[in-house]
């Protein structure tokens, strides 16, 4: 550490710690939404620092759509165990019973039922009044104005008119019973910041982020990995082995891989600095409609 000033990563980390401590000090029953990806990895790492030597005083919650990559699930369980944290996993049982899946129902319905509705179910079930998530403002144009403490009505709705101005480091976390907050401590980080931080702090990430030979098929211009036998293949489709990695991780049928040679974190960062594609390009849900993110936010997706 320099004597008079912080590096940008130190400043971002300190800000995120501050936000997480505010959540714990002001909310009755917070939870951290853990989605297994790189943003969650960095966020969780910051949380471990924020409350050290205590453990983070909240559980982790994973909304399992049942379509995550198998490596993600394994990594999730290892991580909770390694850090000694309580992990809650919620699956929308009705959706599961109805057999909702991204192939027959499409990404929109699948995401709504298995992710958005499932998240609301879980928050209601445990009575969480603050859900801390790893979303960043640079992810998408409509997120540029999102608050750090994003207010949700008792019905989990996001109403732009009820969002509160955020000045200095003062977050207003007061609410009536039933209302809640989504809190985004990583708001000011960019994708590059997250990778640099992961490299600097040696944070473990799901191996899918590193390039390796994997079975993929090409669909609608995206490379989709055949992660298990549930994926229906068209008659002419045969999985081919390609050296690929992922920039974001979600449900495997909805997440496009990119061809890459980057087998180490350093190489990933190097590639990122040269790349000319934004990370969302790999997410199938964005292509639905231009304002789809905005709409999903109102519905409670974030």
């Amino acid at each position: 550490m320099n004597d008079v000033s912080l590096t940008h990563l130190q400043a971002l980390e300190a800000e995120s710690i501050h936000i997480m401590r505010e959540v714990v000090a002001e909310c009755d029953n917070p939870v951290m939404l853990y989605s297994i990806g790189k943003d969650s990895a960095a966020m969780l790492h910051v949380a471990m620092k924020a409350f050290y030597p205590a453990k983070p005083p909240f559980p982790l919650l994973h909304i399992d759509t049942t379509w995550k990559f198998r490596e993600m699930i394994a990594f999730r369980d290892q991580t909770a165990e390694r850090l000694g944290l309580r992990l809650l996993v919620h699956i929308n049982a009705e959706g599961l019973a109805q057999g909702i899946n991204p192939f027959t129902h499409g990404s929109g319905v699948h995401t709504d039922v298995m992710k958005t509705q499932a998240l609301k179910q879980a928050l209601d079930k445990y009575g969480f009044d603050a859900a801390v998530g790893g979303a960043r403002r640079d992810e998408e144009k409509s997120r540029a104005k999102e608050r750090v403490f994003s207010f949700r009505s008792a019905q989990h709705r996001w109403d732009p008119k009820r969002q509160r101005p955020e000045l200095w480091r003062l977050y207003n976390a007061r609410k009536h019973k039933g209302e809640s907050f989504r809190v985004f401590p990583m708001s000011n980080w960019t994708e590059l910041d997250v990778w640099q931080y992961i490299a600097l702090e040696n944070i473990p990430v799901v191996p899918l982020y590193l390039a390796k030979l994997r079975p993929v098929v090409e669909r609608g211009g995206a490379l989709i990995m055949v992660d298990d036998e549930r994926m229906p293949l068209a008659p002419a489709e045969t999985p081919m082995m390609k050296k690929v990695r992922f920039r974001t991780l979600g449900c495997y049928p909805l997440t496009g891989a990119i061809e890459s040679e980057a087998e180490t974190l350093a190489a990933v960062i190097e590639e990122m600095l040269r790349t000319r594609m934004s990370e969302r390009q790999g997410r199938v849900i964005d292509h639905d409609a231009p304002s789809s993110m905005e709409k999903k936010k109102q519905e409670g997706y974030f």
Binding site: T7, H8, A11, R21, A54, K145, P165, N172, N188, M277
Partner: protein, 620 residues
């Protein structure tokens, strides 16, 4: 890895000065626009662009037009870009007059302001307004980008006359660290590279300047302050105070003072997961342990012993109003400052400030986006610094107690000396004397519960019992208050708050007169009850929760009110379409499903006797 630093800046400009184009160019030039975004931009440029189908960089950041059409609230947008030397966080706030709130929000976290001026128009009233807000919020560094120089023939005289005039004005408002740069956002002149079109300009290009400008380490050189956010107690042996250092530095072994208590100790350890630090500086989030066991909780401030923060409960402040409902003096709010949240009342509004002319205007209230200077009183003493010395310990927000919304932002100017205030004089004829004469201790019993829970019934029985014992009492309830003192009030949110405020004030006066006061109002909100409690000394306020389940209250429905409410004829009826917040720490809870009203009254009477309220000699 590169040692990149972080610069937060805000942008100010009037409509069409080229703010979006300039910001879009900075993003574009720093290579943060990806190919897929660029493809989308090219498509958008053809459709909506102003550049005849050429790339319109403004579209990268400009969502405003669309938002206005959709009626979405206009807000501060945060954008990010980075170069090898620095990461930038840009707070982009629309500049129109109505958006003072957003400008202030953007300025509150910025280290520098980028002010745009259209070379053809020069300094506009808006430019002055933005500059005033920038300076008010304590930003000392500004970059003046004189844009559209291509349309002004890149003439030096134009540039010189605009910057000369601006500097003179800026000096009056205390902005003196100004760097002016002639640019063309559209063509890129002097944005990332010095332009051949302005050979007379010797200064840096905009990006070069942003990358290298010294960010004032102002807060690092101020005295040490750390608001305590959270007390970390994983086990009996560890008690750490967690917080972000607001200013200055702290060292292992250094002396610190806890405020407002004033107790001193030494820093034993600066604990982080990355190992203990010997020293930590402003902007770091740390956990401190102290050598002595002193009582510190969230909201307290750890400060240097040489120049500790002052402690006070009355201030002159600048307020910026951010809520549709105007600020009215005497309304109770909550103030959040650092990690502390305290009750606050604006005692008087001295004047408001015109953001256009910086004139002082007489005012009775402060509306949305207005700025004023007022006196404010708190329900307890807090450590603080004047905003001009430390924005982290001198800036605060006001929260509406009823809606919980952030209603305003404030800057502490200075503490008011006690002599300047009306303070209750300690007369010899006082409460103790008055109540002593009556052979009792004055106090208030505050009954809260749903409509039909049994508050009035029980309160009446208690009063009878007290009277029989020779005590002097008074019962305040809807019947005797709503028809007289508060007959001008209805049931809107604001009226309900005012209703309880008056009741609480009357309660206070009556207790001061030496009476045992019984108050029976639904008082559904914790914040109101807390406000009432805050008016009283410890032990004088006894909250009685008359706990009856909604279903039971509704079943009793003696006045037929629930039925009306269910039919929608009564709006905002507690329990039906307006919430009831059950007390968490009531002194007494009465379960009306398990006790009769008579039993409850007897129980309360005994509690009063046990608490010494009924006087020693004549105890029942």
């Amino acid at each position: 890895m590169d040692r990149t630093s972080l610069l937060r800046f805000m942008t100010c400009g009037s409509v069409d000065d080229g703010k979006s184009t300039l910001l879009g160019r900075l993003l574009y030039e720093s290579q943060l626009i990806f190919d897929d975004q660029l493809a989308a931009l090219a498509a958008d440029s053809k459709k909506f662009g102003t550049q005849g189908g050429d790339l319109d960089l403004a579209l990268l950041v400009d969502g405003l037009a669309a938002e206005r059409e959709q009626g979405i609230t206009i807000d501060v947008a945060y954008r990010y870009f980075a170069t090898r030397r620095r990461k930038f966080i840009v707070a982009d706030a629309p500049g129109h007059e109505q958006y003072t709130r957003n400008m202030v929000t953007a300025a509150s976290t910025a280290d520098l302001a980028l002010i745009l001026i259209d070379a053809r128009k020069g300094v506009l009233p808006q430019t002055r307004r933005h500059s005033y807000i920038v300076s008010l919020l304590g930003i000392r560094k500004a970059v003046l980008a004189i844009n559209k120089m291509d349309l002004a023939g890149f003439r030096q005289e134009t540039f010189d006359s605009i910057t000369g005039g601006y500097r003179e004005f800026a000096k009056q408002i205390g902005l003196d660290d100004i760097v002016a740069i002639p640019v063309s956002a559209l063509h890129g002149d002097n944005v990332t590279q010095s332009s051949v079109n302005t050979p007379w300009y010797r200064g840096p290009a905009l990006m070069e300047h942003l990358e290298s400008v010294e960010i004032q380490q102002e807060l690092s050189s101020r005295p040490f302050r750390m608001p305590v956010q959270w007390v970390n107690r994983p086990n009996q042996d560890f008690r750490g105070f967690a917080g972000m250092i607001a200013s200055g530095a702290v060292e292992r072994g250094g002396r610190v003072k806890a405020l407002p208590s004033g107790q001193e100790s030494r820093v034993a350890r600066i604990v982080t997961q990355d190992g203990d630090f010997g020293r930590a500086i402003a902007g770091q989030s740390v956990t401190l342990t102290l050598e002595h066991e002193i009582d510190i909780s969230r909201g307290d401030v750890l400060a240097s012993t040489d120049s500790p923060a002052a402690v006070a409960d009355q201030f002159q402040v600048t307020l910026i109003w951010m809520h549709e409902e105007p600020m009215l003096p005497e309304r109770p709010y909550l103030m959040k400052i650092g990690a502390a949240t305290v009750g606050a009342t604006v005692t008087s509004l001295k004047y408001k400030v015109s953001v256009n002319t910086i004139e002082h205007l007489a005012a009775k209230k402060l509306g949305l986006n207005e700025i004023g200077v007022c006196n404010i009183g708190l329900d307890r003493r807090i450590p603080f610094d004047p905003y001009t010395e430390n924005r982290e310990t001198g800036g605060f927000i006001l929260i509406d107690r009823f809606t919980n919304e952030t209603a305003g932002a404030g800057l502490i100017q200075y503490a008011l000396r006690r002599a300047d205030n009306i303070h209750w004089q300690a007369l010899d004829v006082n409460r103790t004397a008055r109540s002593g004469l009556k052979g009792q201790k004055a106090c208030a019993l505050w009954f809260t519960g749903l409509s039909g829970a049994g508050k009035s019934t029980i309160a009446n029985l208690v009063e009878k019992r007290l009277l029989a014992a020779g005590k002097h009492t008074y019962l305040l309830d809807g019947d005797n208050v709503r028809h007289g003192l508060n007959k001008d009030l209805g049931f809107t949110d604001a009226d309900r708050v005012e209703n309880i405020r008056r009741v609480a004030e009357v309660m206070r006066l009556m207790v001061d007169a030496g009476l045992i006061v019984l108050v029976a109002f639904i008082s559904p909100f914790r914040s109101e009850r807390r406000m009432a409690r805050g008016l009283m000394a410890d032990g004088e306020f006894i909250e009685v929760f008359v706990d009856t389940p909604l279903a039971e209250a509704e079943r009793r429905d003696r006045k037929g009110l629930y039925q009306k409410a269910r039919r929608g004829e009564l709006k905002n009826f507690t329990g039906i379409d307006s919430p009831y917040e059950a007390p968490e720490h009531a002194e007494i809870r009465i379960d009306t499903m398990a006790t009769t009203a008579e039993q409850a009254a007897e129980l309360l009477f005994r509690r009063l006797a046990a608490a010494g309220i009924l006087g020693e000699a004549r105890e029942d």
